[in-house]
């Protein structure tokens, strides 16, 4: 059957992509200038002997190829290594950061998907009207704003009303679970909103153009000639076809959720993956960086894979 063929092909493609990415991951951080031991903030003015000892401890004195196979072997056992900077297992550190990042980014992304596709559909449907113009200019405005600038502006505006950074209020002692959740939500609002607004611009513009394209197709005219209501034409015929490009966009942005956003997490001091990557770069913390990029790779590849499978479900023409 053709369907099985397609799925197998996509699966192999995903696996190969992951493997290639793993290898590039390994090479790229070792090719970067600077070394782990020279930049460790914890060992200022270290002697040569101490550095050599540290290099030995981290396994950096072994030949590169051997390091590579050790890396792959450890990965196969689910071992991402130990952070140079914190001496904690990378998997533990990443998981914690991920737990902070995912809710924040997910909230923003869902806001963008829901609101963006809705106004995109509305704008296309009411093409040329004030609604359309307002929606397009709003979308363009947020899409073109630099993320960190938007974040700073929101900070300026809301700093009094909402917390300006961090994930929890340090002075909230022994909160009840409900208090804790509300506290985190309050801290999450601004970073999520920043991300959501930037993504919103993208979603609403892409949805609008995908919808306009399908609304101009002959089968839409056929649907109108059949006597269908506008509402049904938009939902049954136009949106179903416009879904195809939108699905790709959704999969891509979901894939990037685990990357967090370095800019946003920096601006709002959000202790997520973005922050972790930022500090790891400063510390040349290879295992952390490798771990973070591995996570990102897996997530992006996975969601692309899901998008491919969804496409297969949504577009009968692919089944050829």
């Amino acid at each position: 059957m053709r369907g099985a063929d397609y799925v197998i092909k996509r699966t192999i493609f995903a696996v190969v992509t992951v493997f290639v990415a793993l290898t590039i991951n390994f090479i790229i951080f070792r090719a970067a200038p600077g070394s782990a031991v020279s930049n460790l903030a914890r060992v200022p003015g270290a002697t040569h002997a101490l550095r050599a000892e540290l290099e030995h401890e981290f396994g950096l004195d072994k030949p590169k190829l051997q390091q590579y196979f050790i890396y792959l072997g450890q990965l196969a056992h689910g071992n991402l290594g130990v952070s140079f900077a914190s001496q904690q297992p990378v998997s533990h550190e990443l998981l914690q950061a991920l737990g902070n990042t995912i809710p924040m980014v997910l909230l923003g992304t869902l806001f963008a998907i829901g609101f963006g596709t809705f106004t995109g559909i509305l704008a296309a449907y009411r093409r040329g009207t004030a609604v359309d113009k307002a929606s397009v200019s709003t979308g363009l405005f947020f899409y073109s704003l630099p993320t960190q600038w938007l974040g700073l502006m929101l900070l300026l505006i809301f700093a009094g009303t909402l917390p300006s950074g961090g994930r929890v209020d340090a002075f909230l002692f022994n909160p009840t679970p409900l208090q804790h959740i509300l506290d985190v939500l309050k801290h999450m609002l601004l970073p999520s909103l920043t991300l959501g607004l930037v993504l919103y611009g993208e979603y609403t513009l892409i949805t609008r153009s995908a919808m306009l394209e399908t609304l101009g197709e002959d089968y839409i005219l056929t649907a109108r000639a059949k006597g269908l209501s506008d509402r049904r034409i938009v939902t049954r015929h136009a949106f179903r076809n416009a879904m195809l490009p939108i699905t790709t966009l959704i999969a891509l942005s979901l894939g990037y959720i685990v990357a967090g956003s370095i800019l946003i997490e920096r601006v709002f001091s959000w202790p997520g993956i973005g922050q972790a990557v930022y500090y790891s770069v400063q510390n040349r913390d290879y295992p952390m960086l490798q771990g973070a990029f591995l996570l990102l790779t897996l997530s992006v590849v996975f969601f692309n894979y899901v998008a491919d499978l969804l496409y297969f479900k949504l577009d009968p023409r692919i089944r050829e």
């Binding site: 005219l221 109108r224 000639a225 059949k226 006597g227 076809n241 009968p316």
Partner: protein
């Protein structure tokens, strides 16, 4: 006297263009069609054929302004815009399009699209609708087990057949066919035309066939209207148009038809159709006409009755001017 099945009276369509311009695409078009008749609407590309038939079903975009009346069995279906025309869509008047390459939704099965029309108009539901859809496919020469196939699995000709089956789903009185064979190859064209002719005869279906291809009309239709520059230049039985044309454009159009033996060269009409986005003074065809005379550049010709069922808009037929020339 009974009213004709479909009568179009003084139809006018203007399109708003960007920068505040308007384009007068259809001008004072009137014609009527009887039950079971096959009526052709012919003319060069851009003369307003598609606009005319889209106006009949109220399907023009919001940039269009329409005036005039479309009487279906005496009832003006455009009177209250969308409200009055929608109940007639597909149940009384249905439509097929050029080549049908994209007339079917690519992500729905052909069967689902036929059934959708039936269920919407309360013709049939569920399994019953599906079996009726199968019969329709059979009627247009497609095996009923292809109901569950998607449009891309059909060839161009089969897609047009499926589109015809869908158009017949609610047993309409009138089928509007806009260049139904244009994108198809010659063999398939002939098959589709034969199919339309057969269906019209078997079902007593009225077909309005829109085309730029005069031989197609001559083959399929009994009567036809020749359009030029948004207006009707001549209307009458196809035989009369061929043997006793009273408009130079009709004559040149027939002359432009290649000889069936393929020996003679195609005679095309020199010049280009008028621009519709500016006012036309005099006869629209006058700049290209080989028989233009004094009144043509300034006086607008009106349709003049030349027989019981034959009208032409040409000063050559007007006794007032003939006396002068």
């Amino acid at each position: 006297m009974t009213s004709p099945l479909l009568a179009v009276q003084d139809l006018e369509v203007w399109f708003d263009l960007p920068h505040g311009d308007t384009l007068h695409a259809v001008r004072r078009v009137s014609f009527s069609v009887e039950r079971g008749e096959r009526f052709g609407l012919v003319g060069e590309s851009g003369c307003g054929k598609t606009t005319t038939i889209l106006a009949l079903m109220g399907l023009l975009p919001p940039t269009a302004t329409v005036s005039g009346r479309v009487l279906l069995e005496g009832e003006d279906i455009l009177e209250d815009g969308e409200t009055s025309v929608r109940p007639h869509r597909w149940t009384d008047i249905s439509m097929i399009f050029q080549g049908a390459m994209n007339a079917l939704n690519p992500v729905q099965t052909v069967g689902a699209q036929i059934v959708e029309a039936m269920e919407l108009h309360g013709i049939a539901e569920g399994a019953d609708a599906k079996s009726q859809a199968g019969q329709l496919l059979e009627m247009v020469g497609i095996a009923p087990d292809r109901l569950d196939r998607y449009p891309h699995e059909f060839s161009g000709g089969m897609r047009q057949r499926a589109a015809i089956a869908m158009a017949l789903a609610c047993e309409p009185k009138v089928l509007l066919a806009d260049e139904p064979t244009t994108a198809l190859d010659v063999m398939v064209q002939a098959q589709i035309l034969l199919l339309l002719e057969r269906l019209s005869q078997e079902l007593g279906l009225t077909v309005i066939l829109v085309t730029h291809d005069l031989p197609v009309v001559a083959e399929v239709c009994g009567r036809a209207a020749v359009m030029y520059g948004g207006e009707i230049a001549e209307v009458g039985p196809v035989d009369t148009l061929y043997h006793d044309s009273r408009h130079p454009y009709t004559r040149l159009l027939f002359a432009a038809v290649p000889d069936p033996t393929g020996e003679e060269e195609v005679v095309s009409i020199p010049g280009a159709p008028p621009r519709l986005d500016r006012p036309i003074v005099g006869c629209p065809f006058q700049p290209r006409c080989d028989r233009a005379f004094e009144p043509c550049p300034t006086e607008q010709p009106r349709l003049i009755a030349l027989g019981a069922d034959h009208q032409a808009a040409c000063h050559l037929n007007d006794p007032a001017f003939r006396a002068v020339s």
